[in-house]
Symmetry: C2
Subunit: 229 residues, 2 copies
DNA sequence: AATGATAGTGTATGAAACACACTTACCAAT
DNA sequence: ATTGGTAAGTGTGTTTCATACACTATCATT
């Protein structure tokens, strides 16, 4: 390749912090590296950016290739450019974070050759490169995001109960929330549609199922409304 | 250069959205490009990342080189990687935004060969590359930032009056703010130290000068306190 | 019929947001 | 010295929102 600039190019990667929720713990999807460096270490899914794709496209492609996940909530997080973050040469990584619904969890775990596994956020193994730092920043971002934008449903099945939603908020934020206040507030936003269905699990009163209303959400976003829970 | 990876490298640039405040308008520092592409167009200060420097270092170096500004508030904004954002070849740009105190404005305008000029945010000329998009996102970020973190003083002189601070908030957020409520709220955070000095300008009652208390601010940040105005 | 488990609901209190108008201090002009 | 113009500075009442808190309803199991 001919250099039109006199400046050296850098190898570019994308890395994805994939969050999931199993009803109790916030989880992160990790893959075990098959090649050096950091062979056999756990790492964030990701890989090199190709010249003919945008950064977002690269992130989505890598997600499919390494975890089988597609059509997930995906947002750019931060770009990491420390000089020695890759032992081989200068590699700059654009980090993304993804929110994945439970329906996709099985696909994610089972797909392809490289081993992929969900880890609870409280029990993350040592990670390759500076991926621990990336994960740390992603978690902070998720916490912030969750408190001022209704993205929680991205981590839940299409139909969910208010208790499930509350458990999710508690897991991500690491706090206990009062049930009545939580329901009052969540419902006041008028973004949840009660379904005719109920969830019957176990020997107790069945729970009302809701689904998220994306139309109303878009309307709110356009008006610049944000809000916290 | 020998490729240890089989993937092509990309040219990497940093671009800086430099915000200033002249007492009335929020302003942005632009430079006129001396070389193609977009020769003679206005653009954000920025340039290529070198292999031996981090992204932050590159952003600060370019700021000094192109505008003479140093020791300013600087934060990474977003990374832009559309394929055709540079007409020559694939260039990925890590955008930053900076907040500059008025004392530095003159230095900024006067330095070096390339022409540099402050433009009010309401009268930005056509910009090179996708810099209009970058500016747009930076402005949104600044608005968000200002509403939940006390960064306003980064755009004011070391000594400032509450009215100046209010004008700044009004200029950035594009709203009118009630004087009494604003003062009540700002002072309640206990981050401003009243000085023995007053500002006398014009035929009216002189205004109390304050300075920001960085020590108390750090203490708040550590506790994870954020707040809005 | 009794037990155990989770769903679901209302009210009272305190804190913060918001709306709102007049007095004070200085300068300049007469 | 008085007047007029200009921006600084100040307090209260109202409303809205956050928080704390305990019991009843419904189902499955025995």
């Amino acid at each position: 390749m001919k250099h039109t600039y006199q400046y050296p190019r850098a190898a570019l990667t994308v890395d994805c912090v994939v969050f999931g929720f199993d009803g109790g713990d916030l989880q992160v999807l990790l893959i075990r590296r098959a090649i050096p460096p950091f062979k056999d270490h756990w790492a964030l899914p990701g890989g090199f950016v190709r010249v003919e794709e945008t950064l977002d496209e690269a992130a989505r492609r890598e997600l499919v290739e390494e975890t089988g996940l597609k059509d997930v909530f995906l947002e750019q997080l931060y770009t990491f450019g420390t000089i020695d973050r890759d032992p081989r040469e200068r590699v700059v990584s654009i980090a993304y974070y993804a929110l994945v619904k439970p329906a996709d969890h099985t696909t994610a775990a089972s797909t392809d050759a490289a081993e992929a596994r969900w880890y609870p956020i409280t029990g993350i193994p040592p990670l390759a490169f500076d991926h621990a730092t990336i994960l740390d920043i992603a978690l902070k971002r998720l916490r912030g995001k969750l408190t001022y934008q209704p993205v929680g449903f991205e981590l839940l099945p299409a139909k969910f109960t208010l208790t499930q939603l509350q458990r999710l908020y508690e897991a991500v934020l690491g706090t206990e929330i009062d049930k009545r206040n939580f329901r009052k507030k969540v419902l006041s936003f008028d973004l949840l549609i009660p379904l005719k269905e109920q969830l019957r699990d176990g020997p107790h009163r069945p729970a009302q199922l809701f689904r998220f209303d994306p139309v109303k959400y878009e309307r709110l976003k356009k008006k610049g409304f944000l809000f916290e829970i």
